[in-house]
Structures are given as structure tokens and as C-alpha cells.
């Protein structure tokens, strides 16, 4: 029971991470498409500046919780996905430093270099996170010892790359919608038009991914196996997810961008939880033999650790959500066009 509670929390933490860091990864990747000049670029940086660091801590926490609650899954997942994970980490380093360092020197070469780091790093991280999670949904070649029998190329299969593309589209829609909320004038209009176009690609990719999932993974098994047990909470996930996708469109067309952005958040959470619910009880299915799969029973920590961690999570996660919401509200206002030039930090 405790393991299953932690499985849910594990999925929720990754979902929150994708929802929050998703917009700044997407916006970072879109920078060269959206920005027409220095003023635009500053506005884009400022739209992410107060938030990206707090968002990334959700990744650290998701990683830490995997380590604490399911040490075996942590060990197998990260050593198995070694090269892919190292690339994600390097990408996150460059984009994080770009966000913090760019504004400190007025040199054009300095700024251009960091702009490139931001774009490439954000794009690569979004893509690779998608590739990694699609491969987890599909199952990776781990043997009975939990050792990965493959290479970086094993992960770059059709379904894995499809997952990467889906993540990039999810995050870029999310990011351009965020920019519509933070900018005005020409930049705002550009972001809105781009979100509208990207949404079509996202809808096509999402439907295609659901079909590919049918053939490439066993995620649907849980939904079909015990319809009664799963009826209420789990079937709701795909329904809400698809509704959210439609509501993004409605929001964009009606120019209600806050609604569109919230719908996009729900969509990202839904996609993640849809996959995670399909995985249960596995954390990492083995593509070699189902008996080698890492699941909540053979990977979890001792009941004492799970109990202590549960108390910590139930006390502190709501507190974190409360002060992060406060911080979001503090910086929620639209950035004035001319203000970027005089702003102290960007």
C-alpha cells in the first residue's frame, strides 16, 4: 500500500516538473523564432527569470524521491540511461547559466553565445526527456541484474523519437502561451500566432502518439484489464487530457490566454499521468523479459523510510506549493515593452 502511494506521488512529482519547467524549456527553445531584437529577447528572458530555478527544483525532488522511495529504480534508470541523462544534465547546465549570466555583461558576443546556449540547451533537454520517458513507457533492455543491455542508439527508436517530438511540441505550445501572458504588442501577437500553429502539430502528434502507444507499449493493459477497478479515477485521466487539448484551442481562438495556458498545464500533467498509470506496478518495464521489470514491490525502500518520507512530503510539498504560488502571483504581471531597457536585472 505504502509503495503504491509513493508510486502515485512519484508520478505526480514528474508531472509537476514537466508542467512547470515545460514552459521555460519551450520558451527557451523558441527564442530565435519569437524574438526580433534585443528588446524582445530581454522580455523573453524576463518572462522566465523569476521562475526557472524554482521549477527545476521539481526535477531535483523528482530525482531525490525516486532515489529515496525506489532506490533500485533510481539505480537502474540512471545507470541504464547513462549517456542520455548526461546530455540532459549538460543541456540543463548551459541553459540555466544562460538565464543567469546573459545580462551581466553588455558585450554582444557574450549575449549571443548565451542565447545559443539557451536555445540549444532548452531544445535538447525537452527532446531528450521525451525520448527517455517514451522509452520507459515502452520498456528498456534491462537484464535480471538491472544492467542495461543497449546503447544510446537503442533509445533512439521510432517510438522514443516520437516521444521526444511530442515533448518538444507540448513544451513549445506551453512556452508560447506563457509568453502571450507576459508580453504585449508585436511580440504578444507573434507568440499567439505561433501557439495557434504549434497546437495543430501538437494535436496531430498527440493522436499519433496514442496510436503508436497501442502498438509499441503495454500501457493500455491496465485500462483494459480491470475496467471496474480503474473505472473511476484512471479512465478520467485520458478523458480530461483530451478535453484539455481541446480547451487549449478554445482558449487561443477566444484570446483567453490564461485559460489556454492552464489547459496546457492540465494537458501536460494528463499525458504524464496517463503514461504513469499505464506503467503501474512497473517503474521500469524490461523489454527483455517481464520478470526483469523493476516494479514498486522489488524496488521500494523499507516501510520505515517510506513512512518518514511520506510525512515529510505531506507536510512540505503543500508548503512549497503555497510559496511558489505566491511567487508566481508576485511576478504575474505583463512586462511593459519599454521597461525591459531599464530593468535592473535584464
Amino acid at each position: 500500500m505504502l509503495e503504491s502511494i509513493w508510486f502515485v506521488l512519484w508520478g505526480v512529482l514528474w508531472a509537476i516538473y514537466f508542467m512547470l519547467d515545460g514552459f521555460d524549456l519551450g520558451l527557451g527553445a523558441l527564442m530565435p523564432v519569437l524574438a526580433r531584437g534585443e528588446n524582445d529577447r530581454r522580455t523573453i528572458y524576463r518572462a522566465m527569470g523569476p521562475f526557472w530555478d524554482g521549477n527545476e527544483v521539481w526535477l531535483i525532488t523528482a530525482g531525490g524521491v525516486t532515489f529515496a522511495a525506489f532506490p533500485v529504480a533510481y539505480a537502474v534508470m540512471f545507470s541504464g540511461l547513462y549517456s542520455a541523462l548526461m546530455l540532459v544534465l549538460f543541456a540543463l547546465i548551459f541553459r540555466g547559466i544562460a538565464l543567469e549570466y546573459r545580462s551581466h555583461l553588455a558585450s554582444e558576443r557574450w549575449r549571443k553565445t548565451w542565447d545559443t546556449c539557451l536555445t540549444v540547451g532548452s531544445f535538447a533537454a525537452a527532446l531528450l526527456l521525451g525520448v527517455a520517458f517514451a522509452n520507459i513507457f515502452k520498456g528498456i533492455p534491462i537484464d535480471g541484474e538491472g544492467v542495461f543491455q543497449g546503447s544510446l542508439l537503442t533509445l533512439l527508436n521510432f517510438y522514443g523519437i516520437f516521444g521526444g517530438v511530442l515533448f518538444v511540441l507540448m513544451f513549445t505550445v506551453h512556452g508560447s502561451l506563457w509568453l502571450t501572458l507576459k508580453s504585449d504588442g508585436e511580440l504578444h501577437a507573434r507568440a499567439a500566432r505561433l501557439a495557434e500553429k504549434l497546437w495543430i502539430a501538437l494535436a496531430v502528434a498527440a493522436v499519433g502518439f496514442l496510436v503508436a502507444t497501442w502498438y509499441a507499449t503495454r500501457l493500455y493493459d491496465n485500462y483494459l484489464k480491470e475496467p471496474m477497478l480503474f473505472a473511476v479515477p484512471i479512465v478520467l485521466i485520458p478523458v480530461i487530457t483530451i478535453a484539455a487539448l481541446a480547451f487549449i484551442r478554445v482558449g487561443i481562438v477566444k484570446r483567453r490566454y490564461w485559460r489556454a495556458w492552464f489547459a496546457s498545464s492540465v494537458f501536460i500533467v494528463g499525458v504524464t499521468l496517463f503514461g504513469v498509470a499505464g506503467l503501474y506496478p512497473n517503474l521500469l518495464p524490461s523489454s527483455l523479459d517481464p520478470a526483469f521489470s523493476v516494479n514498486v514491490h522489488n524496488a521500494s525502500s523499507s516501510p520505515l523510510t517510506l513512512r518518514i518520507m511520506l510525512v515529510v512530503a505531506l507536510v512540505f510539498v503543500p508548503v512549497v506549493l503555497a510559496y511558489q504560488t505566491w511567487a508566481y502571483r508576485l511576478f504575474k504581471s505583463r512586462l511593459e515593452d519599454g521597461e525591459s531597457l531599464h530593468d535592473e536585472a535584464y
Binding site: G49, P50, D53, G54, E56, V57, L59, I60, T61, G63, G64, V65, T66, F67, A68, A69, P71, V72, Y74, A75, V76, M77, F78, S79, Y82, S83, L85, M86, L89, F90, L92, I93, F94, G96, I97, E100, Y101, H104, L105, E145, G146, V147, S301, S302, L304, T305, I308, M309, V312, A313, F316, V317, V320, Y323, Q324, A327, L330, F331, E344, A345
Partner: protein, 439 residues
């Protein structure tokens, strides 16, 4: 090189690099919080400008600390997966608690502090930097609890083929952890003080922003002196603690081969590890090691030869690192004490100021030496007495780890250059000269 050695080098490079930037943030956050509090209480704009100037340098360091910290957490999974499996029940939970309890707070409020000057009242703004200061130090607390558990594991039992938690309180309150926390935080505060004194000295020598940097220097020298005293006194107790829980490390850091009563300390020698003896010994202080370890000059100290060869740590590196650390520790005490006496006549002490400018790297060296001693001296164990480092490493192909190791070297070198450039240019530029923009 094999996967084990490559993984060790990679982890060493990643931790050393991470800890070039973190100590300054631990101390600077507190000093900035004090500056801003004085500003709120007195309304003196100079203190606000101080908080902003030192705050810029804080942010440059903090950014590197964040991104390099993520790689450290994930390396336990990537390179040390067998370690993660074996001790994740305990070690993993400590890291997860750190992220949930402290790191969120720190990362959220640092952004509010940096960008919220106009959006918050002065009082609320000062409160955010206090939250950052508290959170960074609490964060260090949890990480050091985790490291102390590797140095001296308690509160666990071996069950189901791994170490399982039995007593959480024992892990959090064990004396070795408390020593490690005081010692590491003390060192970080000394480093911060020397950094602030060095940069201030640079400007005072050029007679620019004199009032601003005199205040900064005085604040730093007092802070530094307090912790230099704490460090020397506590360091002595720390040595006794190492003797109690890690006798092999003690023997290695003193290059003591034979079990000896009235064991001496030597100021200098060259350990000859192959022949299990020392060359070129001089500056012998009889009974000093017995005194350090057991507070009794007659006490017997166990030598390396009485440990099985496969449980002995390397000798040369811990021995050298220990000497570098303690000699610098005493130098810091002397330099801060002298500076504190002359704190009202700084402008008349150009030679001392120059010395302090060039002293900036010394606490960095001392801290890295201290960690080298702590970690290399623990070998061959990754968890002392419980798990060997060689049993902790992941089953990876050497080419993978070569690629990532070279990646780390390249990426971290670039980061280091960027950060160094920025710190130097920001420090040189000094505070904003026209206070109107700082409103």
C-alpha cells in the same frame, strides 16, 4: 583506466568544482541578510548598496552551485548505482529531504530577492534574503548529514541484502555529523570573510568607494575572526572524533605506520607507501598525536600496519592535505586577528591590504584539502566499514564514462571561465556609483 577509477575522478571533479562556488553562497547570504537588516532598521542607503553589490556576486556563484548540484545528485544513480541500491533507503531519503525542505525555499526566494526590489516592501524584501540564508544553510546541513553517514554509518541494519533504516534520529543527531556540519560551515564562513576582505582591500588600495569597502571589510573581518577561532577549537575536537570513529584515516593523515604509545606528530615527512615507512622526517613533536587523538600524551595510537592492507587508505594525499588544511587554518586565525586589531586604521595598512587581496584563494585551497582528506582518507570504503568503493560502481562500459568524464572537463572548464570572468569584472567595477538607479 577502468570504470571505477574514471567514475571516481569524475565524481571528484564534479564535487570539487561544485564546492568552489557553494561555500561563498553559504556565508554571503548571511552577511547580505545582515546588511539589508541594518538598512531596514537605519534607513542608511549605503547598506542597501552593499547588499546589492555583494548580492550580484552571490547570484553569480549561486547559479553555478545550482546547476552543478543537479549533476551530483544524479551521479549517484548513473555511476554509483550499486551504492544507490545498497544504501538508498537511508542516503536517498536524506537527499530527498534536502530538496523538499531546503532547496525549494532557497531557489524560490532567491529569485524573489533578486528581482523583487520594487515589488516588495523593504521589510518583506529583507525577509526573503533571510529565508535564502536559512535555507542554504539548512540545505548544507542535510547534505552533510548524508556525508557523515558515509563516514560513520549509524541507525541502520543489514536486511534484505541492503542497509535499511532503523533509527532516523540517530542519523540526524550523531556527534560525527554535528562536527562535520560545524567544521564545514565554519570553513565556508571563513572563505566568505576572506573573499569580502580581499575584494574590499582591492578597492581600498585604489582609494575608491572607501567608506563602502571599509564597512564591508570590518564586517567581514569580525565574521571571519569569530569563525577562525571556532574552526581551530572545533578542529581539534574534530581530530579526536576522527580518531574515535575512523582510526585508519587518523593513521593515514599522520603517516603513522606502527602502533605507538606517546605517538608524535611530524611537521614534515615524505611517506614511502611501498616500504611502509617515512622519509625525510623532521619537526617531530613527541606525544602530540596521542594528545590530539585521546587528549593524553601517553595514549597508544593504532598504526597502519595493524590494519589489513586491503582496508588501508592512501597515505600521501591525506597526509599532505591535512597539513595544508591545518597550517592555513592557523594562518587565517592570525590574519583575521591582526585585521581586527587594525580595523579602524585600514587605510594606513597598505601592506596588510595587499596581503589580504592575495589571500583570497587560500581558504578555497584549505576547503578542497579538507574534503580531499575526508573523502580519500575514507577509502577503500564508500560507507566506512560497510561498503567498499569498488563494490559501489555501476556496470558501465569504459567508453561511456570516458565520454562523460571528458564532457565534464570541457563543460566545467567553460563554466569556470565564464563565472571567473563575471566575478572578476563585477568585483572590479564596484558598487553602482549613482544611487538614483538603485531605488
Amino acid at each position: 583506466m577502468d570504470v571505477l577509477m574514471l567514475s571516481r575522478l569524475q565524481f571528484a571533479a564534479a564535487t570539487f568544482f561544485h564546492f568552489l562556488f557553494v561555500p561563498l553562497t553559504l556565508g554571503l547570504s548571511i552577511l547580505i541578510a545582515i546588511m539589508e537588516t541594518i538598512y531596514v532598521r537605519t534607513g542608511d542607503e549605503e547598506y542597501k548598496n552593499m547588499a546589492r553589490f555583494w548580492g550580484k556576486i552571490f547570484l553569480i556563484n549561486f547559479a553555478i552551485g545550482v546547476v552543478t548540484g543537479i549533476t551530483l545528485e544524479f551521479q549517484f544513480g548513473t555511476n554509483w548505482s550499486r551504492y544507490s541500491r545498497y544504501v538508498g533507503d537511508i542516503f536517498g531519503s536524506l537527499l530527498a529531504i534536502e530538496a523538499t525542505v531546503a532547496f525549494f525555499l532557497e531557489s524560490t526566494f532567491i529569485a524573489v530577492w533578486a528581482l523583487g526590489w520594487k515589488r516588495l516592501s523593504p521589510k518583506a524584501h529583507a525577509a526573503t534574503i533571510w529565508l535564502v540564508a536559512i535555507a542554504s544553510n539548512v540545505s548544507a546541513f542535510w547534505i552533510l548529514i548524508a556525508n557523515a553517514w558515509m563516514q560513520h554509518p549509524v541507525g541502520y541494519t543489514i536486511r534484505n541484502g541492503r542497509a535499511e533504516l532503523t533509527d532516523f534520529t540517530a542519523i540526524v543527531t550523531q556527534s560525527f555529523a554535528l562536527h562535520e556540519i560545524v567544521h564545514t560551515l565554519g570553513a565556508a564562513y571563513i572563505l566568505t570573510a576572506f573573499f569580502m576582505m580581499g575584494i574590499s582591500a582591492y578597492h581600498l588600495l585604489r582609494k575608491q568607494h572607501v567608506a563602502f569597502f571599509t564597512r564591508s571589510f570590518r564586517m567581514a573581518v569580525t565574521f571571519g575572526l569569530i569563525f577562525a577561532v571556532v574552526e581551530v577549537v572545533q578542529g581539534h575536537m574534530h581530530g579526536a572524533e576522527v580518531a574515535r570513529v575512523q582510526p585508519a584515516k587518523l593513521a593515514a593523515m599522520e603517516a603513522l605506520w606502527d602502533t605507538t604509545a606517546q605517538a608524535p606528530q611530524h611537521l614534515f615527512l615524505i611517506p614511502d607507501e611501498k616500504n611502509e615507512t617515512n622519509l625525510a622526517v623532521f619537526g617531530t613533536i613527541p606525544g602530540a598525536l596521542s594528545m590530539l587523538a585521546y587528549h593524553d600524551p601517553e595514549a597508544t595510537v593504532k598504526g597502519l600496519k595493524d590494519f589489513p592492507p586491503e582496508e588501508r587508505p592512501p597515505v600521501t594525499l591525506p597526509f599532505a592535505a591535512f597539513r595544508i588544511m591545518i597550517s592555513l587554518g592557523f594562518l587565517f586565525l592570525f590574519l583575521t586577528a591582526y585585521g581586527w586589531i587594525r580595523r579602524n586604521r585600514l587605510m594606513e595598512s597598505p601592506r596588510y591590504l595587499k596581503l589580504m587581496l592575495f589571500a583570497i584563494p587560500l581558504p578555497y585551497l584549505a576547503i578542497q584539502a579538507g574534503w580531499a582528506l575526508a573523502e580519500v582518507g575514507r577509502q577503500p570504503w564508500v560507507v566506512y566499514g560497510v561498503m567498499k568503493t569498488a563494490d559501489a560502481v555501476s556496470k558501465l562500459s569504459p567508453s561511456q564514462v570516458w565520454a562523460s568524464f571528458l564532457g565534464f572537463i570541457v563543460v566545467y572548464t567553460l563554466l569556470g571561465i565564464a563565472a571567473f570572468t563575471l566575478i572578476v569584472s563585477t568585483a572590479r567595477k564596484g558598487p553602482e556609483t549613482h544611487p538614483a538607479t538603485a531605488q
